[in-house]
Amino acid sequence: MDDLTAIDSPVHRLHPLSKLVTTTIYIMVVVSFHKYDLSGLAAMILHPAVLFALGSIPPGICFYRMRYVMPLVCAVGLLNPFFDRTPMLVLGPLTLTGGIISMVTLMLKGILCLTASFLLAATTPVDSLCYALLQIHMPRMIVTLFLLTFRYVFVMLEEAAVMTEAYQLRAPGQKGIHYTAWGSFLGQLLLRSMDRAGELYESMLLRGFDGSFRYASGKKPGIRDILFPVLMITMFLVFRFNRVADLLGALVLRGV
């Protein structure tokens, strides 16, 4: 993640606050789409596509990093086709039921939200993000929790990697970790991560950390930082409500 946030691109240079606002609204809009409005939702792919391109982030990395989460998100809608059998569209011998469409919509929503969050994280260092959160008056407590959670996830992964290596060096020819060792392995992992996390936090305190993220405060927002979210949000709203307008129009016409 650090490698990605270090890239220098127009997207990376944007003010963290403007990216945070854009992403939040993007996610809200994506979630608000109607469950059958697949075509409207599909247009929302434009936003991540633009960010991948301008931010020089290879999309492959994004999907590789999220390979464990994606299936979970996609699994959410799997049952829909069995419950909702209203036929929506007939293509020759194929009948698309409402269930199938809502399943695809739900999956797409999940993927889009994940991708957007990933892009935010990949183009904005976490400390800057925290600073931005403070600026929109998020409670300090919550922002600090967010930062620490982010750091501790990495501490835990690192500890797990080290422990697995140490385990395997002394258990040659064994695949993975034998189930008899799971309990102590997990316990140790937790204790070690907690110790390390505690010391890391102390070390932040010793160097004057007081939850204000002054060190991450960058430049003042410029004209680009205002234009970007305004343009993007307008675009989202157009995609979102354009369809509604169509439908309204159709209703009115039918009524007449």
Binding site: S203, R207, D210
Partner: protein, 244 residues
Amino acid sequence: MIRLEHVSFEYESGCPVLDDLSFEIQEGEAVGLVGANGAGKSTLLRAMLGLLPCAGITVDDLPVVRENLSRIRKKLGYVLQNSDNQMFMPTVFEDIIFGPVNYGLSRQEAAQKAGEVMEQLGIQHLKDRYNHKISGGEKRMAAIGAVLSMDPEALLLDEPCSALDPCNRRRVIDLLNSLPVTKLVASHDLDMILDTCSRVILLSEGKVKADGPAYEILGSRKLMEDNHLELPLGWQSRGRTGNC
């Protein structure tokens, strides 16, 4: 500058780790804190920084209590025994400016300060490297840099040379000698203590076993061996070899 009066401490488990310690470290003094593994050196340093609840310590006449912690921590720079736990920003540079910016310097000033410190330590090449992708010794040098950049009035170092190659070890020793600040170095690298400190406090099972001039204490074979240490290598065989 740092005064201890009857300081005792035990972790929850019961047996005392620090046992009625009293001594004072004057401003500008360089003191070595020696003792076998588990003697309580790290615990003592952590107590001085207020990381452990522990009564009887004052720093510049400020008692180490919650209200004074931020002032005390600004005065004392602490280099942890394990640098992995000290570095938390993505890059070395960001880690080094973290402290100064928190204490009110602007980013430019902090960056300049960081530049100076990195040059002193000879780690300019690490500036934009990622903390999780550098070696243990490089990390240690960066951690020392992160503390020096805050211009502390006293340096508390916990095994500062334990991961360093001879060349970097020599560099740290020379740097410590060139800094006029108060120093408290916990280590069992006795040669290094001998090179940097004029006074030594020998800790054993949480008690001060000896306190006096470095040459006297480190030179006493009986004292050293009774406390699971040995004479500095330089005194065991003749002549020291060092070339950096």
